[in-house]
Symmetry: C2
Subunit: 246 residues, 2 copies
DNA sequence: CACCCTCAACTGGTATGATAAGTTGACCAC
DNA sequence: GTGGTCAACTTATCATACCAGTTGAGGGTG
């Protein structure tokens, strides 16, 4: 997760680029709900791409429920707040200029706090086998104080919990949320460091999993993520305070 | 929601049909992760549609993270459990033959239980204005015992809570989940009737919103949805027990 | 005037066929 | 074995049709 030695070279296709541009305009409010989209032929001309590429992009906008399409009439922009699914979250976190939306950050942390306890509780069905694997993940965290390691292992810890919990809704939501905050993975490292260093609650979760104690797992799960939530809340307050002073 | 007098005639486009077929095969495990997809030209020939329709469908599969595409090589199926977002939930609830997956049902109910209390708690910021609107939604429920009315108004009640809570993550997740269980809206009516008739907790939430009492809202939110969860759990146990006897 | 019909000029939906660009695996030279 | 070559794949993009549904302006009709 942190500091990959190499990363895949990005080769964005034309339709990807068109999709990104249009989705950005919609999510930033530049194209408000109800507004008709330019015609496909017009878009393909102004963007200098083939109509097929535009159509592929619009199909994706349709799937994300950002626009409604019907033959004969222009496609129209929908209200993503009312129609969109959780998969939009990553695109909402950082707006076009790369600034992150603090309201979205708070939202994510609130959702994380709501889900984490139940994710931990659901994982107790994994029993001793899961507990062993969780302890194995904790080992390098105890040995090595490197924040990067702590952060990566903590994510792996929760990933395993949600993977073994057998709750597909939790898992899919976890995927969407993970994709959201890995965008700001580096920035989170320092802000959430108190949580990453909280090995006690993670260890307590592993122990609770081992003895099948769902309530203890839930309790320690809540305690653990609330550490990060509090820290982030403080950081955001400070950030917004500074902005107001400017 | 319930019993619309008329509903829009379905006009599925070719690419929609192709997408649905492929997504179904993947979600049902017929095309396991790692398996290469047939070539676009081959698919377009076997399905009897032009290649553009196939490409639009595959772009959507790519967006849903059901497949990975790269120029020059075949597209390959991904593990949706590890990659997919919450927007897949509706497609997972009912498998190809229209049978519903009880594990998915349980997952959804667990997620609902995890989110509902915090949704109620977040809504208290709406204050008296929101409380008035909530009471207005409860009025027809108290007047009219019709289960259909109760069900629709209860959904509207939660919709308003999540809409006013100002938490975009909650809202998008709520959208995904709503789309999931409106698929079995009629079947849920009887199973969850005890919850729909529980106006006491809904009224208590409205009252808590009015006086800004987040903890009370959270508590009554939890109590309310646990009624439905328990009822559904019983129904599923009975159903699965019957299946085992067959 | 109000109503309704017609129709041209839009819109998206589908089809065909060509070319560019990247991947794969067999083959060969060293 | 290592590395290069190349033919036969694949997806990516393009151009150009034509089909099908929507819309709004115009003109009739009562």
């Amino acid at each position: 997760m942190s500091k990959p030695a190499f990363s895949a070279v990005s080769k964005e296709s034309l339709s990807d680029s068109v999709y990104r541009q249009l989705a950005d305009k919609i999510l930033r409010g530049e194209l408000p709900a109800g507004e008709p989209l330019p015609a496909e032929r017009e878009l393909s001309e102004t963007l200098g791409v083939n109509r097929g590429a535009v159509r592929e992009a619009i199909k994706r906008l349709q799937q994300a429920r950002l626009v409604a399409v019907r033959q004969g009439g222009n496609s129209v922009v929908l209200d993503y707040r009312a129609e969109g699914g959780l998969e939009l979250l990553p695109s909402l976190l950082v707006n076009g200029q790369g600034q992150l939306d603090t309201a979205v950050v708070r939202s994510i942390m609130a959702m994380r706090s709501a889900l984490a306890p139940d994710i931990a509780a659901a994982a107790v069905k994994g029993g001793a086998a899961l507990a062993d694997e969780l302890d194995a993940l904790l080992a390098p965290m105890r040995r090595d104080g490197d924040l990067r390691v702590l952060q990566d292992q903590a994510l792996a810890f929760w990933h395993k919990l949600v993977e073994r919990g057998g709750n597909i809704a939790f898992r899919l939501a976890f995927n969407s949320m993970t994709r959201t905050y890995t965008q700001v993975w580096d920035a989170l490292r320092l802000v959430l460091q108190a949580e990453f260093r909280d090995l006690d609650n993670l260890g307590a979760i592993a122990a609770a999993v081992r003895r099948g104690d769902a309530e203890a797992a839930r309790r320690h799960g809540r305690l653990h993520v609330e550490i990060g939530r509090g820290a982030l809340e403080q950081a955001l307050d400070a950030m917004e305070g500074r902005q107001r002073l400017q």
